[in-house]
């Protein structure tokens, strides 16, 4: 069976070609999106609520299918993949982590390896490795239930679970959105270091410009389902588009203050 890891002859890990997603009512949530994500980069999808960030993410792991256009994942159209196989090769972390409340941390983290029928001792070893990687000592956390974790710890487990089967691609939907500011900064720092070390292709959704500037190798700004532009973090605040200014203003400096910066 083909898996995502074998398909890396292509330069781009992900490629949207004029992808549109419409609701059955005809309302487009994403319109004509053309965007490529290179291997190993962290692309941040930035936008306000309802700008189509989450829809874009779900088009990648085929929780949604494009109504027009195509999305290529390691060079193959998303709809030609077996959806189950595709998703097992793409880590997925959402806000509030989406951990299974009736399973222990250990079992949550071992989910995809177990679905992929790894031998039990390999799963055990991998779970311990992943928990240590995200800074949760396995002896202390493996047997806990999600209800016995803090918000930050849940998110760490969510990241460990997404990485457990070593997927080449990682999708993160506002993973740190519900955390208190201090925990959020800690996790952002650790996550940036982790991302640099692991060399995964990451698509990260956020509405927080600071987070986008800090984590992204590139930032794609979405507005009402349209791509405004793709920017390197250094260029982002200098961009002239009004949608960028709105975000820059949220940081406390807009065009008027830019000279003073």
């Amino acid at each position: 069976m083909t898996s995502l890891s074998d398909g890396f002859q292509d330069r781009y890990a992900l490629e949207f070609r004029a992808a549109t997603y419409r609701l059955p009512s005809g309302t487009p949530l994403i319109s004509g999106l053309t965007l490529s994500v290179a291997r190993g980069e962290t692309l941040v999808l930035l936008g306000r609520s309802g700008s189509g960030k989450t829809t874009t993410l779900k088009l990648i792991n085929r929780l949604l299918e494009p109504t027009e256009g195509e999305i290529f994942i390691t060079g193959r159209s998303s709809v030609s993949w077996d959806p189950i196989q595709l998703r097992r090769g793409i880590g997925y972390v959402i806000q509030d982590a989406g951990l299974f409340p009736h399973w222990t941390v250990e079992r949550n983290v071992g989910l995809v390896p177990r679905l992929e029928q790894w031998p039990e001792e390999r799963i055990q070893a991998r779970v311990r490795e992943m928990l240590s990687l995200v800074g949760l000592p396995p002896e202390e956390f493996a047997k806990r239930r999600p209800s016995e974790l803090s918000g930050g710890q849940k998110q760490r487990v969510g990241v460990a679970r997404a990485l457990a089967a070593d997927p080449p691609i990682l999708l993160m939907d506002e993973p740190f959105g519900a955390l208190d500011p201090i925990t959020r900064i800690d996790l952002q720092k650790e996550f940036r270091a982790l991302a640099q070390r692991l060399q995964k292709t990451i698509v990260f959704v956020t509405h927080d410009v600071r987070e986008a500037l800090f984590l992204g190798t590139r930032i794609a700004l979405l507005d009402q389902g349209h791509l405004v532009g793709v920017y390197a973090p250094a260029e982002f605040l200098k961009a002239t588009e009004p949608e960028v200014h709105a975000f820059a203003a949220s940081l406390g400096f807009d065009g008027a203050h830019e000279g003073a910066k």
Binding site: L63, I84, R87, Q95, G98, P101, R161
Partner: protein, 210 residues
């Protein structure tokens, strides 16, 4: 003669009737679960059909049990006098709480959990068995508990169409205008209901704890 003296003196028949009662309830609940659980699961994602089916189950629930037993007697195949007719009627009564709780139990599972399960590459079947059903279990068991209580109560009336069970004493007592005989049926039936309810309640609580 007291009702418990009557009970003691007739303990063999009381025991036999209790077994009949439990058998009727058990068979009806088994049928009801076999229909209600899969039907409920199938209806979760079909809201329009769901309204119709729940509506129909609601209508059945409003028919007085004695009348329902009466209606079923002339129906070919399932009808007639005796236990099989009673089991059909009892299954219909137990269906509504099972159906409704299956649907609400699954629908109330946190959508973020279900979505991350799908997003991680679980098949629909794995999502159902490993995520939705275990998380819906407390609500599901609450439905089974209510259905069982209804079933034990209504089964006493099934004696009217010759299905046996503890209702036999109740109807005999009514005919004899003898309260002791009525109580000899009513009290064991109440005990059965309490025992079943607390047993299932224990399961329900332990499933909620997980």
């Amino acid at each position: 003669m007291n009702w418990y003296e009557f009970l003691l003196r007739n303990r063999n028949e009381v025991f036999e009737r209790s077994l009949e009662h439990v058998g009727l309830v058990g068979a009806s609940m088994a049928i009801s679960l076999a229909i209600g659980l899969p039907l409920g699961i199938a209806l979760v994602s079909r809201p329009r059909l769901q309204r119709w089916v729940i509506g129909a189950a609601n209508v059945v629930q409003t028919i007085p049990s004695l009348a329902l037993f009466g209606f079923l007697i002339p129906v070919p195949w399932i009808g007639g006098i005796g236990a099989s007719t009673a089991i059909v009627a009892l299954s219909l009564y137990a269906l509504l709480p099972i159906l409704r709780n299956t649907i609400t139990g699954i629908a109330e599972v946190d959508p973020a959990v279900v979505e991350s399960a799908r997003g991680m590459g679980m098949t629909s079947r794995q999502v159902l068995w490993q995520v939705q059903l275990p998380l819906a279990a407390p609500v599901l068991l609450a439905g089974i508990r209510v259905a069982t209580a209804i079933c034990i109560g209504v089964t006493t009336i099934a004696a009217a169409i010759g299905a046996g069970g503890l209702g036999v004493f109740i109807f005999r007592g009514l005919a004899m205008v003898n309260n002791q005989v009525i109580l000899a049926g009513a009290i064991p039936a109440a005990c059965l209901a309490i025992a079943a309810d607390s047993g299932l309640g224990y399961f329900q609580r332990s499933s909620a704890k997980r």
